[in-house]
């Protein structure tokens, strides 16, 4: 029963606001202390869980007979902070595997020129003695665009020896999907000798590989470009992503999920408080009854 001392104003509006942003409904009602408790506590717990889980614990995935993100039913109770996951799930399914029509992004990776053809005629064609050119680290900016049926572009950058290079893309580049949570970005072509085969995964970077030309020399570059925030934030997790996260983060990932679930459930209490007021009363009722007994 609503305490008469609490002015709930338009309580349905307050409840909707409390759902969308924890504490907003109480702010609207002028209950500032509660607004602060709910907003700081619930949003803080939710964001804390997101940080613990590397921003990958909130997602919507529902496959008949497959993985289902039941936890999202609790996370979505936090409101706006969790709602993008529903929208992102639709975008994720719509995205095809074609490369971007245009790309203009910082690039970080490796470059290797093809061996000098003259060297191949001098030295015997023997895998053990066949000359291979050096792998260079390269950072710069990659730009491409599709013109008719062909992709044209350039990679302007600096090698690890300080040399500035301007490379021309000469064939269709390969890039992983624009909207994706989890990609393997370990160098596969330009792996150095004796380099341990560690599989690297990232949601904030995309793997790119393309053939390039610098004057009369051809080569290959392999590396990463950043992925836009809205192309990885709260996008559904793939099986490989889940396994990699559980394997690497262990219990911390589960703790992160629990934080976000509990934040959602606590917001249910906040929504109810905005709608009906405090469950037990204002809080001074026992003092009144003690005074009445004394009288």
């Amino acid at each position: 029963m609503t305490s008469p001392q609490v002015d709930l104003k338009n309580r349905w509006l307050a409840a909707v606001l409390a759902f969308l942003i924890p504490g907003a409904g109480h702010l609207y009602q002028g209950r500032l202390v509660k607004a602060a408790i709910y907003s700081v506590g619930i949003i803080g717990l939710f964001v804390g869980g997101m940080v613990l889980g590397e921003w990958k614990v909130v997602y919507w995935r529902w496959e008949p007979g497959g993985h289902r993100s039941f936890g999202y039913f609790s996370q979505v109770l936090v409101g706006l902070p969790a709602l993008p996951a529903r929208w992102q799930a639709g975008r994720y399914l719509e995205q095809g595997r074609a490369i971007d029509e245009t790309l203009d992004a910082p690039f970080s990776g490796r470059l290797r020129y093809d061996p000098d053809p003259d060297q191949l005629t001098i030295h015997p064609v023997d895998p053990d003695t066949r000359p291979t050119s050096k792998i260079h680290e390269i950072t710069g900016t990659i730009h491409w665009q599709r013109e008719a049926a062909a992709v044209t572009g350039t990679l302007e950058g600096t090698l690890d020896n300080g040399q500035a290079v301007s490379l021309t893309l000469i064939r269709e580049p390969m890039a992983t999907r624009r909207v994706f949570v989890h990609d393997e970005i370990t160098p596969s072509i330009l792996r150095r000798d004796k380099e341990t085969s560690v599989r690297l995964f990232s949601s904030t970077a995309r793997y790119v590989r393309c053939d390039v030309q610098n004057g009369d020399r051809e080569g290959i570059v392999e590396g990463t470009v950043p992925r836009d925030f809205w192309n990885w934030f709260q996008v559904p997790l793939e099986e490989e992503a889940l396994q990699e996260l559980h394997g690497r983060l262990g219990r911390r990932f589960e703790l992160a999920q629990v934080f976000t679930w509990i934040a959602g459930l606590l917001n249910l209490l906040a929504i109810w408080d905005a709608l009906e007021g405090p469950a037990y009363g204002y809080g001074d009722e026992e003092d009144d009854s003690e005074q009445a007994a004394a009288d």
Binding site: I37, G41, G44, I262, L266
Partner: protein
């Protein structure tokens, strides 16, 4: 759960205690006093559970 992760229980219990108490009462002093009591209750319960489980798993 290793010792490092266990510390995350503290902010979790603090938030649960505060939000739950805030949903019960309106008076600020009442909210905080009740939250304090709930926090201590939960932590003592978890502490007892921790000792019991540690004892049962001793030398396993």
């Amino acid at each position: 759960m290793d010792a490092h992760n266990t510390w995350y229980i503290l902010p979790l219990v603090v938030v649960i205690s505060l939000v739950y108490s805030a949903s019960r009462y309106e008076l600020t002093s009442r909210i905080f006093s009740r939250a304090r009591r709930i926090f201590l209750t939960i932590m003592i319960f978890l502490g007892i559970l921790f000792v019991v489980l540690n004892t049962l798993s001793f030398r396993l």
